[in-house]
Amino acid sequence: MPATMRLSTAWRRGLLLSGVVAVVLAVAALLATGLGRDPAAVASPLVGRTAPAFRLAGLDGPAVQMSDLRGQVVVINFWASWCAECRTEQNALNATWTRFRDSGVTVLGVDFQDTTADARDYMGSQGITYPVVQDTESTTALAYGLRGVPETFVVDQAGQIVDRFIGPADAGKLATRINTLLQAGSS
């Protein structure tokens, strides 16, 4: 009887230890997976799918239709004049536009929940030269699953969303992705 009890206690301890080890390993695996990801690149059901169609009025130019941009790499950036983080990413977007505008890349700004006057002032002060459209009823924002500004989507030549970045866009990451798409498109 005591031998059985001793065995039972040892078995219980072993089981408890295995459970603790399993939980620790699971947490470590979860952390390793999570820490290896780019926090700005957020999983979205839209990534890998055709970019939702839209036709929006230009702020200081012609209306833009998504289908007209097919065959180009499109960087769609949702922004607003009242958004502080949008100012921090502005240089990266301007640099991307300057660098790739003649390589079959379009940077498109989508003004979100803003007034036309404020948006114009912002564009002037930030030196924006790429096309900007206004999403007055937020229909495009909802179609793209927007959770706030700034958010940036990269669309390939076939019209599929390949990346979604939440928060200020990074020039380096954008350039890497664009170069990959351009190389894939030319081969």
Binding site: P45, P52, T139, A141, L142, A143, G145, R147, G148
Partner: protein, 231 residues
């Protein structure tokens, strides 16, 4: 045998009990008669108990099972209430009510734990407007909801979906409730058995608090003492 009462003496309790069947004499005083009646009633009750113990046992068993019955009734009442609320909870209404209902099932994307119906955020307002347009266009509730899921994923739903991993949110509580019920039943049965077991153990060792080994030592000591006395 004649009772002491019949002889004119005040009856003792034991004597009264012995003479229960013969105590009808008019010479008895009032307290004596009352005592006799009580004794007779006790005896009759004892006889009744001996003849048919079933009703008393049933009452005792019912008392023991009462906590289990109360718990079972409470669980059944909870389950029935939940079923009724989930079946008839959604109020019927017009187009505005339908928009409200769909919006209340969708999370406001720029808020923390607020539905599109409750949020004052402009984007939530646009969601309600879009829902209203789609309802007017004749799209079904599922079609509208699927449209938002396509853009935001299932996290846009206020409650988890009934498919895939979301099912665990519905199955787990039922599973936990079932497990809890089993634990409650097992514990109640164990608690019910414990007093019986204690009673049985108490009866077996009544009047003796010594262990068998102690008793053996005492017996041997007594034997030695008796042998010494004989000498």
């Amino acid at each position: 045998m004649r009772s002491p009462a019949a002889k004119g003496h005040p009856p003792t309790a034991g004597a009264t009990a012995q003479s229960a069947n013969t105590q009808t004499a008019n010479t008895q005083t009032a307290p004596t008669q009352r005592a006799t009646e009580q004794s007779t009633a006790t005896q009759t009750a004892t006889i009744r108990t001996q003849r048919s113990p079933a009703p008393l046992l049933a009452v005792a068993s019912l008392r023991r099972q009462l906590p289990a019955l109360i718990v079972a009734l409470a669980l059944i009442a909870t389950a029935v209430t939940l079923m009724v609320v989930s079946a008839f909870g959604a109020p019927a209404g017009g187009r505005a009510a339908q928009v409200q209902q769909i919006a209340s099932g969708l999370r406001c994307p720029v808020c923390k734990d607020l539905s599109a119906a409750d949020s004052p955020a402009p984007l939530a307002g646009q969601m309600r407007q879009q829902i209203a347009q789609q309802v007017a266009a004749g799209r079904s509730e599922n079609q509208i909801r699927d449209g938002f899921i396509a853009a935001y994923g299932e996290s846009v739903l206020m409650s988890p979906p009934h498919t895939g991993l979301g099912q665990t949110a519905y199955l787990l509580p039922a599973l936990l409730m079932g497990s809890g019920l089993v634990v409650v039943v097992v514990l109640l049965r164990r608690w019910r058995r414990e007093p019986e077991r204690a009673e049985a153990d108490g009866g077996a060792s009544a009047g003796s608090t010594t262990s068998p080994s102690d008793r053996e030592i005492v017996d041997q000591a007594l034997l030695r003492l008796r042998e010494e006395e004989r000498r």
